[in-house]
Symmetry: C2
Subunit: 191 residues, 2 copies
């Protein structure tokens, strides 16, 4: 998605630790117009699929998933919750995740009542680096016995293990901006 | 907003500790159509105001703020971040907040670069109970020297101290569903 690549080049900041900061339009501050363009693009990529629900993970996935649903058929959006507390909830599907950005370990949870066996789920998220968050969502979908009909990611660092790791488990993954390399001098190359 | 009151009566669950659970449509699972109705209502209530940005707090405020912006002029949405870690960030406005739902204390943060002195801000949030989250957002707005031109809340428990507390600091507050009383037997009365 050329529009998004240009925006990342213009507004993204590369921080030490190979972190791409896009919080002026994607997370923290949300550019609602950009969100709508992203939503339209995902809707066009997945329009042939039967989709019952859109699943994402808090917080940065919420606006993207909502924009996607608005451009499909207003399917319910479910956002998995992240918590550092390890209390077991028997009414939730759970999986642990280690954050790429801050190294913290989280428990990812979805209430069992919102994922019903056999439903068709589109997974949407903002970033793919090591694939921890996505892996947790796929594990939750497996526990719930739902069908993952597609995975849509806004930005992926293709040189990190996440893409291959997820691709192996689940083939149908769409990425809007594929980063081939980036340097702290501010250069970003896309595939 | 009659539509919302009916929905809360139909789908809300009252839990011990005076908690109203509406996570089948407002948070956790998001009914995108309900969100659009809420967005239209806030847009109509605040349409006369000059609004530069919509400010909310993660996670449950994000979808509501986005729906509101989409029905106004696609203003940027900023979501304050909550963290349990007390590291000081010099590039953020910060305020502490104690959650009504789980009693945990959080630091609420907004990057200084996204709130500019003199900007007109509409604050949007899902719930008002004791007013801790809203109070943190108002404190951040004060630190940033921005003008709060309106506060929109989806559901308020009017019998708790939050409403009066916020009203005293800031007069122009719009609430879509004003709960007068609720009981664990499932009865909810609106004002």
């Amino acid at each position: 998605m050329k529009y998004l690549e240009d925006l990342i080049r213009e507004k993204g900041k590369i921080l030490p630790g190979d972190i791409l900061k896009v919080d002026s339009f994607l997370n923290h501050q949300i550019d609602v117009k950009v969100m709508s363009e992203i939503g339209k693009e995902f809707a066009s990529l997945f329009k042939e699929k039967a989709i019952d629900k859109v699943l994402t993970i808090e917080t940065s996935g919420v606006a993207i998933a909502q924009a996607t649903s608005l451009n499909l058929d207003n399917q319910p959006v479910i956002y998995a919750k992240k918590t550092e507390h390890k209390n077991i909830s028997y009414d939730c599907y759970m999986c642990s995740e280690k954050s790429y950005t801050n190294g913290n370990e989280y428990i990812v949870k979805v209430a069992k009542s919102y994922l019903n066996k056999g439903e068709n789920i589109l997974i949407i998220d903002d970033f793919l680096a090591n694939g921890e968050a996505l892996n947790a969502l796929l594990s939750i979908c497996k526990q719930a016995e739902v069908n993952v009909v597609g995975v849509g990611i806004v930005i992926a660092k293709m040189y990190q293990p996440g893409y291959e790791r997820i691709k192996k488990q689940y083939g149908d993954i769409e990425i809007l901006a594929k980063i081939k390399s980036m340097s702290t001098e501010g250069t970003i190359e896309f595939e």
